[in-house]
Symmetry: C2
Subunit: 192 residues, 2 copies
């Protein structure tokens, strides 16, 4: 299991996300949280490549700052809808626009994971399909009041108030939360 | 949203489950937790009917003990695999047997919800398909050491260490955690 593989290792989570920290705690990983400082430039419109590139950049950014025997774990999550990448909304108005577009429809969530260990860097990604029920204008208004949408890709959080809008997932739930645990386990078995 | 519908209402969660309590907290429901005391007798082998019957029995059991203006919410979750209902394992040996059977395969999780309000009782259910990756004998042994499997239907918890075995979900994640939030919201809009 993951916590056994990482036992007695210095583990760094290259992310500021409280959701990722909470997943790490749930699976018994004791990690130092060290957010990477990289420009989130989109060099491609291919979501599969983009999330892996961003995760790798984050891992490399931290690797440059720490001892080489650390295990560095980075991830990047995006929402993909009608061939467009939806990031964190820049304003409440954009959050309303995102939620109105996603209401009653299905969209994709992609997460790329990168692991750096002893000068090796590997990456992989996973994709889940998320279906929203119809969200009324009033619900969107009330949802904004909870402050949940503003710091999240696609303007929703699946594990909080946003859960009531999600009627169905196909794929990994933890991907939608920002860190696909079973993919991470498979990657860890390969690199360590 | 759910927390607005239930605002200023006396809400009772007829369940001892810490997972359900945690979901309630996440969606802003302030509920009194009052576990129902009913014999969990299986009067049917139909999982869809069974989970609703058990949820209704729990809600009625609590309704008999409290004021009539309370909103009483009850749920029942089971794992269904090869036409068999897997409940909480009775021993570590049975937990090993369950996990060995579920490894590398897909199973179903059913949750029934019952809501009692002003002498009305409604129930509904949802079903999700969960796919496990291959779990090694050693992983099962290590998983048992975490103590997570013993109090859970099917001998696993999706939100903790068990997350690393789950490669895919099709349906509602919160159903697998024990309380399908979006179904609950739909039911609430009907009854209140």
């Amino acid at each position: 299991m993951i916590h056994n593989i990482l036992k007695n290792k210095k583990v760094i989570l290259a992310s500021a996300s409280p959701r990722r920290r909470s997943i790490f705690q749930q699976i018994g990983i004791n990690a130092l949280q060290m957010p990477a400082n990289i420009p989130e430039i989109h060099t491609t419109k291919n979501p599969r490549i983009l999330v892996q590139n961003l995760a790798k950049s984050k891992a490399v950014n931290i690797a440059e700052q720490v001892d080489e025997d650390c295990v560095i774990i980075a991830a990047d999550t995006i929402v993909y809808f009608e061939k467009e990448i939806l990031e964190k909304p820049l304003s409440e108005r954009q959050a309303v626009e995102y939620l109105t577009r996603l209401s009653g429809k299905s969209h994709y969530v992609y997460t790329g994971i990168a692991i750096w260990y002893k000068n090796q860097l590997i990456s992989d990604y996973t994709k889940s399909c998320v279906t929203f029920s119809e969200i009324s204008e009033n619900d969107i208004k009330e949802y904004l009041k909870t402050k949940e949408p503003m710091d999240k890709a696609g303007a929703y959080g699946i594990q909080g108030f946003g859960s009531q809008f999600v009627s169905k997932i196909s794929g990994c739930y933890f991907n939608v939360m920002g860190f696909p645990v079973s993919l991470f386990y498979e990657m860890l078995k390969k690199i360590m």
